[in-house]
């Protein structure tokens, strides 16, 4: 019954997308408004019902559905039954649709007499996008497909996904990806405006860009946190195609939200912003294509099915062709000649934009290059971490250098001398701090020095902006910039100074890492709802033999899927993480124990969280400003 309800509502979504998209032959604005209103409300309602019917089926373990049967199990804790809804391809499409219609609803809510034409264009485009995804879901990956014969027990699901960080990672990430669809639609609507219509389209765009970008940031962060403690070797970013797919829209989004400031303040770069907003969503769909079509091999990909790949590609082709043709034809009227000097606030933002686009293009190139090589030469190559590190880091570094002084610069033109005088204190403080750190730790490496310098540069500049200048700067921007500084600090610390110790230990054995003594005390068996585990017990003492903490890494065995997972145990403080993973072993020969000393890791998470907070603060400001101008 409930799955049936869900399925019907999915079909209804399709119907309301159509009613929202097509033009009715009526000249009466009121009637058009009424139809759009009904469509937008019903679309939201139907996708909600559809989504929650699937969730209901998961919670009550309705194994008459193939999707539930394959991905759930009665012994699963409630939280993971719920998150299992989006832990698989079909269910995640349903979440995708739900978020699409939520954004659709918000676009609708902006409608008024003055912007009727503009918003209706945006709603049309949004309905088209939603239609595409609902159609895709119904015909290639319907989560409400029935089993031939109902089962009493499900197949369980990948235990590596049974994890809180990974449970909330997809929804956050999807808000990011899908939010860019609203930006895309607004950009289409802008391109379709008549010459005589004056709409402050950038004001409409900004809150949507902020929401998407902010949630994309936090979504990527949760993915990394998960990788950090679940994959078990202290790394958190692997330049995997799926990670790249999420990073590319993030980079373009970063460029977009900065150049929107120029559009607002200086009426410049308008065509550029329109292009970026189209590209941002297209890249999100490209990411979806790469992840779900199976043309790339990745650790994260969903189950493969060629028809899905073809469909998404056709849909992507349609979206791209439509939007970019429209851009080619109509963007000229937004081309402005408000040039500005290189050395100015706009100039710094332009440089930031260009660098973000270069980095994004490089990542895109690296991600698809192996495919191209295979296509043209029948050879296979790997493009891995070393390539991405050696290309993106040097390109990124100048952007970060400029980021420190960017907010200080004046609009249009700035004199070098004045800026140097203004930023002299932070240059000095940064230099002194960097030198002091290296004099104390004497752990030199070029990357380390550059990383620490850039991190301090951003951090000190952000603080000086916060303290010295009253209300000139947006608080959100400073917090987000500070977050970037902290992020760089964490990245540098953890990648340059990581130390590891791999030893075979038996009970009562001791080992040392950095200034810590690690004592292997005992090993126990534990039993939980759907797994059993051995849990080791390590005591950590510092060099003065004071007890620091107890670490209990686990090896779990999930009974349903017969899978093993390792759970690292981590002790975190502001300076370092102590990270222990339990490996192979037995009571006679001892266990392989991997101990990592990862400096400054927590600053990665604090930094990313600060960016999130900064984004939220800016968002609320944007909305306030929008309300004032809108009414």
């Amino acid at each position: 019954m409930v799955p049936f309800l869900g399925n019907i509502n999915l079909w209804l979504c399709l119907f309301f997308c159509v009613t929202q998209a097509i033009n009715f032959k009526t000249t009466n604005d009121k009637n058009i408004l009424r139809i759009k209103k009904i469509s937008a409300y019903c679309l939201l309602l139907c996708s909600l019902i559809s989504f929650f019917s699937l969730m209901y089926s998961y919670v009550y373990s309705d194994f008459s559905l193939i999707n539930v049967f394959q991905n759930s199990h009665t012994t699963k804790p409630l939280l993971y039954k719920v998150s299992a809804v989006w832990g698989n391809h079909e269910g995640s499409m349903l979440l995708w649709i739900l978020i699409l219609s939520i954004f659709n609803f918000f676009i609708f809510r902006l409608i008024n007499k003055n912007n009727l034409n503009f918003i209706i264009h945006a709603l049309k485009s949004q309905a088209l996008i939603t239609f595409g995804f609902v159609f895709f879901t119904i015909f290639t990956s319907n989560p409400f497909d029935k089993m031939d014969s109902p089962q009493s027990e499900g197949l369980g699901f990948n235990p590596i996904l049974q994890d809180p960080a990974l449970a909330i990672h997809p929804p956050l990430l999807y808000i990011g990806y899908v939010g860019f669809s609203a930006v895309f639609s607004l950009s289409i609507a802008t391109l379709k405006l008549n010459n005589d219509e004056k709409i402050l389209w950038h004001l409409y765009m900004k809150p949507f860009v902020m929401v998407s970008w902010t949630f994309l940031t936090i979504g990527i962060m949760f993915g990394s946190i998960w990788a950090y403690y679940e994959l078990g070797w202290g790394g958190w970013w692997f330049w995997d195609p799926v990670e790249n797919a999420s990073l590319m829209p993030w980079l373009i989004g970063t460029a977009l939200l900065h150049s929107l400031i120029i559009v607002e303040k200086r009426k410049s770069l308008q065509t550029w912003v329109l292009l970026l907003s189209i590209l941002c969503f297209l890249l999100s769909v490209v990411g979806t294509f790469l992840v779900r079509s199976g043309i790339l091999t990745s650790v994260h990909t969903f189950a493969l099915d060629p028809s899905r790949g073809i469909y998404i590609l056709l849909f992507l082709g349609f979206l791209g062709f439509y939007s970019l043709t429209l851009f080619g034809l109509n963007s000229k009227k937004y081309f402005d000649r408000n040039y500005f000097a290189f050395f100015s606030k706009e100039g710094s933002i332009l440089v930031n934009n260009i660098i973000m686009v270069i980095v994004c293009s490089t990542i895109f190139l690296g991600t698809i290059y192996p495919l191209l090589i295979e296509m043209f030469t029948n050879n296979k190559i790997s493009v891995g971490e070393p390539f991405f590190n050696s290309t993106t880091i040097p390109i990124m570094a100048p952007a970060i250098l400029i980021m420190g002084i960017g907010p200080l610069l004046a609009w249009e033109k700035e004199s070098l001398v004045k800026v140097l005088r203004k930023s002299l204190p932070s240059i000095l403080v940064t230099l002194i701090a960097t030198i002091t750190i290296f004099l104390i730790y004497r752990h030199y490496s070029i990357l380390g020095i550059i990383g620490i310098f850039l991190a301090f540069w951003i951090i000190f500049n952000s603080f000086s902006h916060l303290i010295t200048i009253k209300t000139k700067f947006s608080k959100g921007m400073i917090i987000a910039h500070l977050g970037i500084g902290l992020l760089i600090l964490g990245i540098t610390g953890s990648s340059v100074w990581q130390e590891e110790k791999i030893v075979r230990m038996n009970i009562d054995n001791k080992t040392q890492i950095k200034n810590y003594n690690v004592l292997f005390k005992k090993i126990n068996e534990v039993e939980e709802q759907n797994y059993i585990a051995i849990k080791a017990d390590f005591s950590i003492y510092d060099k003065n033999k004071n007890f620091v903490t107890k670490l209990e890494p686990e090896n779990r065995f999930y009974l349903v899927t017969k899978n093993f997972t390792t759970e690292a145990s981590i002790h975190t403080n502001l300076l370092r993480d102590l990270y222990i993973v339990l490996g192979d072993g037995n009571p006679q020969d001892g266990w392989v124990v991997r101990i990592y000393y990862n400096p400054l890791v927590i600053w990665i998470w604090i930094g990313a969280f600060a960016i999130f907070v900064g984004g939220i603060v800016t968002l609320t400001n944007n909305i306030k400003k929008f309300k004032i101008l809108h009414l």
């Binding site: 590609l313 791209g320 000229k332």
Partner: protein, 179 residues
């Protein structure tokens, strides 16, 4: 000039789209890896021979006739499954098959061959997996075709199935016809 400029994104997009489409429809297997040893001489190695009390030296064994080289182990399940096809190569197709036994136990191999039949005219023992590395093997079973000049012509990674059996046969025919 300016107008053309605005249409550039569309052109780039279409190019990328077309290459995606091509990749998607060209029936490629993303997990398939080409061997780097095709059209190269057989690696030189010397090791113990399983049934004979002499050294197995690659220099002496290759270069006279077409030989099928099969990396196998008793602990590998696909090796069991493909064994009947390896038997067919030796008995039906009358091809000389050399087995290279990968990280295994001599006694178990002998039992295995007693039970399932021995298609191998000779078996070289690769105790540490170093010979496999020389051959660019990344997981057993793997099967190579070596022609009468001692040059590797084909590699199949993974289990020999009915389809692969046919494919290998057609390549074997091709090679002997060339001669």
């Amino acid at each position: 000039m300016k107008k053309k400029f605005f249409i550039l994104p569309l052109i780039f997009f279409l190019l990328i789209l077309l290459s995606f489409l091509y990749i998607l429809v060209s029936e490629r297997d993303p997990y398939n890896l080409p061997s780097n040893l095709i059209n190269r001489n057989v690696p030189i190695f010397e090791t113990d021979s399983l049934f004979k009390n002499e050294k197995f030296s690659s220099k002496q064994k290759f270069g006279e006739e077409i030989i099928l080289v099969n990396f196998f182990a008793t602990w590998c399940k696909p090796c069991h499954d493909e064994h009947k096809y390896i038997m067919d190569f030796a008995n039906k197709e009358k091809i000389k098959v050399i087995g290279i036994n990968y990280k295994d136990n001599d006694k178990k191999v002998k039992e295995f061959l007693k039970k399932l039949g021995n298609p191998y005219s000779e078996i070289a023992i690769d105790r540490k997996g170093r010979i496999a590395i020389d051959w660019g093997v990344y997981g057993i079973p793997e099967t190579f075709i070596v022609n009468s000049e001692g040059v590797i012509k084909y590699r199949h990674a993974g289990q020999v199935t009915k389809k692969i059996y046919k494919k290998i046969n057609s390549i074997l025919n091709e090679i002997s016809n060339v001669k």
